[in-house]
Symmetry: C2
Subunit: 142 residues, 2 copies
Amino acid sequence: MSNNSAIVILTKHGLKITPQRIAILDVILNLKEHPTAETICNYLRPGYPNLSIATIYKTLDTFAQKGIIRKVLSETDTMRYDGVAEKHHHLYNTGSGRIEDYYDEGLNKIVENYLKNKKIPNFTIEDFKLQIFGKFRDNGNK
Amino acid sequence: MSNNSAIVILTKHGLKITPQRIAILDVILNLKEHPTAETICNYLRPGYPNLSIATIYKTLDTFAQKGIIRKVLSETDTMRYDGVAEKHHHLYNTGSGRIEDYYDEGLNKIVENYLKNKKIPNFTIEDFKLQIFGKFRDNGNK
DNA sequence: TACTATATAATAATGATTATCAATTATAAA
DNA sequence: TTTATAATTGATAATCATTATTATATAGTA
Ligand SMILES: [Mn+2]
Ligand SMILES: [Mn+2]
Ligand SMILES: [Zn+2]
Ligand SMILES: [Zn+2]
């Protein structure tokens, strides 16, 4: 039960267990679409009519600070959130807001290795991420 | 004279030559720091006291649409603009807003080649960009 | 020089996010 | 189990980057 894993995660990070945090964490971990705060709100409103959008923002920020989730930059003025905390890259559908995860350990190794030899002057690399732009061949969404 | 090259570029893209466009293009092409609209405004206000921030936004957007400049996503809620239109990557200084260009044709080739063989299912790649996060070893700016 | 479409400046509006703060609640101590 | 207390939440106001509006000014052209 995903509900349970949310509690485990909250506990592990020393966060108080609240119904709002459980619900929000549950959604962000199971949704694959890099939702906005607003999207998450829409998912949860039926079950939590009083859930405040401010609480969602604050909670997502708390999770991101703990490293439970990540923030994803988008083309528009809207922050997207990512339930996947492990290293991965993103496929951006040009023109629409669709963003999908892209895992590629082989690519990681190749780039990592290249950059290790390259030694960028005056800069110490901590991490890198690929933004891959293009078009999904299935349409069916904006 | 950079002033002149601005006029050439505007002409090439069929844009009317105005003092504002010349000034804005001149700044964005010569500034290496991926400025915000506000930063550009501050640079130009001494010479153009009536220059409107709305004009700057609209002008930058026009330039971006023509492919003369690019928009750069940043960690904060503020759009950054990039006078370099050619393919390149970015070094993000974690914690501060500093963003610097990173050109690496070798890296481009390697990744390009890797992805060409890889064939991501259901996705046609148009372009890719690396976000490299880390720390600049010279401090001296935020 | 005069005409017309376009650009600009001033300012209002928008929309995402953050701040504020009183009321509620999760946790731990008694 | 009750109580105490610090943290969280919800309601709402404020902020701030960006966009829309519109009257005026101007670049390009005849
Ligand atoms: Mn905004
Ligand atoms: Mn914003
Ligand atoms: Zn992701
Ligand atoms: Zn750049």
